[in-house]
Point group: C2
Chain length 337, copies 2
C-alpha cells in the first residue's frame, strides 16, 4: 500500500479474505479481521492478523474495510458495517470482493454516506475454499474490477484500487451494470454450461461410454463443474438479470446451429470462424504488451478505459471528493467494443 501506517479490516477469512490478509501481512500492512470458525481465528492470529470478535471492532480499527463473506451474506454484513460507521470524512472506505456488483451497490445506498462504498471483484479464485486454501500470491497478475459509479467518492475509489494493486492485481475500472453483464458472459455462463454438460454424464443413455471417451475438450468444458455447487448456484442467482439473457442467447445460438447442420454449411462454418476470431481476440488481449502511461483521469475517463480493456496499475492518494485522479494505466486504445 502506498499509504503506510494504515490498517486494513477484513470481514471473512475464506479463500479470498484469507489470501488478501496473507498478501497484506507479507507487505507489512496491519490487518484486523473477524471470522466465525475458531480454527481459522487461531490460524489467522498465528499468521499475524489481529483477530477481533465483532464487525464493529473491525470498522473501528480500520482505514479500509473489505467484505469477504459469501455473496449471500454480503448485504447483511454491509448493513452491520454501516451501523458501526462514524460520520464524515474520517469514516473508513468500505469495499467487497463479491462476483456480482449491482445488488450490493443498491444496498450501499442505505448507508449514511453511500460515497464510502466502492464495490470490488478480484478475478481470482480456485475450486478450493476456506483459509487452508488461502494463498498470498492468489491475486498476482490478475484483474481486479473496481466500480466507479456515482455516488462513489473518487478518492475512496483510489484507496480500493491501491489495495488491489498492493495485492498484485491490475485494476479494471467498471460500472456495476457493465461489470455484471460482462461476468455473466465470461464467468457465470461458463459455470452454468459446465454444470449442464457434466450433468449429462449421469443420465445420458450412453453415459458409461461417454465417460470412457471423454477427452480434452469435454474436460475443459466441465472443469469448473467440479467446484462447490452452491458457489455456482449462488453466482447464477445473484446475477440473474444479466445471466438470463446470456443463457437465452446461447440457447438461441445452439438451436440455430442445430437447424443449420442439415443444409446450411456456410452458416455452420460461420459459427466456428466467429469462435476462432473471438478466441484470437481473447488471446491477443492477453498477449498485448502495453507501455505504462501516466494520466489524469476523471470518472468517465476511467469507465472508458475499462470498457476498452485498459487497467490501472498505480494511483496516487487523493482526498475523497476530488474530480480527477493521477494514475498510471495500461491502455490498449481503440473503442474496445
Amino acid at each position: 500500500m502506498t499509504g503506510t501506517g494504515r490498517t486494513v479490516g477484513i470481514v471473512g477469512l475464506g479463500l479470498i479474505g484469507g489470501s488478501l490478509a496473507q498478501a497484506l501481512v507479507a507487505r507489512g500492512v496491519a490487518v484486523v479481521a473477524t471470522t466465525r470458525a475458531a480454527s481459522t481465528r487461531r490460524a489467522a492470529a498465528e499468521a499475524g492478523v489481529a483477530v477481533v470478535e465483532e464487525v464493529a471492532e473491525v470498522v473501528g480499527e480500520a482505514d479500509l474495510v473489505v467484505l469477504a463473506t459469501p455473496l449471500s451474506a454480503m448485504a447483511d454484513h454491509l448493513a452491520r458495517v454501516g451501523a458501526a460507521l462514524p460520520e464524515g470524512p474520517q469514516a473508513p472506505t468500505v469495499t467487497d470482493v463479491g462476483s456480482v456488483k449491482g445488488p450490493l451497490a443498491v444496498s450501499s445506498l442505505s448507508l449514511g454516506d453511500p460515497s464510502v462504498f466502492v464495490g470490488g471483484h478480484p478475478m481470482a479464485g480456485t475450486e478450493a475454499v476456506g483459509w487452508p486454501a488461502a494463498d498470498p500470491h492468489l491475486f498476482e497478475g490478475r484483474r481486479w474490477a473496481v466500480a466507479v459509479d456515482p455516488p462513489v467518492a473518487l478518492g475512496r475509489w483510489a484507496e480500493v484500487a491501491d489495495l488491489a494493486i498492493a495485492a498484485g492485481s491490475e485494476v479494471v475500472p467498471v460500472e456495476a451494470a457493465a461489470h455484471d453483464q460482462a461476468v455473466a458472459l465470461v464467468s457465470h455462463l461458463p459455470y452454468a454450461v459446465a454444470a449442464l454438460a457434466a450433468g449429462r454424464l449421469v443420465d445420458d443413455g450412453v453415459a458409461g461410454l461417454a465417460r470412457s471417451l471423454a477427452a480434452g475438450s469435454f474436460g475443459d468444458l466441465t472443469r469448473v463443474a467440479g467446484g462447490h455447487p452452491s458457489l455456482g448456484a449462488e453466482m447464477a442467482t445473484a446475477n440473474a438479470p444479466a445471466l438470463r439473457p446470456q443463457l437465452e442467447a446461447l440457447a438461441d445460438d445452439l438451436r440455430a446451429l442445430a437447424a443449420a447442420l442439415d443444409a446450411r454449411a456456410d452458416d455452420v462454418a460461420a459459427v466456428f470462424a466467429s469462435g476462432r476470431a473471438g478466441r484470437d481476440a481473447l488471446d491477443e488481449a492477453r498477449r498485448a504488451v502495453l507501455v505504462p502511461t501516466e494520466a489524469s483521469m476523471g470518472r468517465t475517463d476511467l469507465v472508458a478505459l475499462g470498457r476498452r480493456g485498459g487497467r490501472v496499475v498505480a494511483v496516487a492518494p487523493a482526498a475523497p471528493d476530488v474530480e480527477r485522479l493521477d494514475v498510471v494505466v495500461l491502455d490498449p486504445g481503440g473503442s474496445g467494443g
Copy 2:
C-alpha cells in the same frame, strides 16, 4: 504389434497419420504411406517411412491399411482403397481414424467384402495440424474406439485393436451409432459451445470489458475454439444426426435454467449439484485403478464392455472369422449407464 514382420499402410500423414507412422517406426514396424505434400513426403522418408505415389501401392504392400485423411475425404479414399483390394482372406484389413463412425460404416458396405473394414477413432489430437506437429507419443495413455458392428470380422477387429494398443492406447469396443452419440456429447458439443461462446467476444455489447475480465472459467470453456475452424465445422456436419439432439437438449436446459433463476432456487441448486455429480463421475472413471483380467469375448461381450466404460489392453491374433477373441481387459463392472 504382436504380429511381427507385418506392414502397416497409412493414407495421409497429417497429425494423426504422421504420429501413428512415427509410433510404429519407433517400434520396428514397417510403414508404407502416401500423402500429397512434397515436404511431408521428404520428411516421412527421412523418418523411415516407405513413401509411395498411389493409394493402390499402399494397399498392395500393406497387411493393414489406415485411412488418416481429413474426415471429408474419407469416403473417397475408402472407395480408392476398395478398388485396389484383392478378394479373399489375403485382403488387408482396412481401418480409419475419423471422429465420426456411422457414415464411413455405411460407405464400407459398398466394398467387395465389407467385413475387411473396421472403423477406428483415437481420442487424441491437439489444436495443431500436419506432419510437423506429429508426435510418436500422441496415443499413449489415450482411448481408441474400435467399432465392432456386423459385418466386421472379429479377427480383423483384433488386428486394428492390436494396432491401437501398439501405439500406446487402450481400446474401447463400440457400436458405430453409440460412438457417434457419445462423441456428440463429449467432443462435438464442446467444440460447438466453445465456438458460440468465444464468438460473443467479438460482437457482445461489453466485449472489450469482457475480454479484460475473462479468467479461468471462460478460458477453459473456449479453449478448443482456438483450433482450425474447419475442423469443428467438419465434425459437426459429419455427425449432424447425433449432434443435433445434443445441441437442442442443451438449449432446452439453458432455457429451463434461465426460467428458474427468478424464483425456483431448488431447481437452480439441482443443476449445479447434478453438474458436480457428473464431473465427479468423470473424475472417478479416470482415477479408477482396474486389474487387467483375461477373458474370452464375443461381439456382444465386447459391446457391453465398452458401454460400461471398459477397455481392451491386449488381444491375441485370430483368424478373421472367429466368434470369440482372447483378450485382456480393464473392466469397471456394473452397467455403465
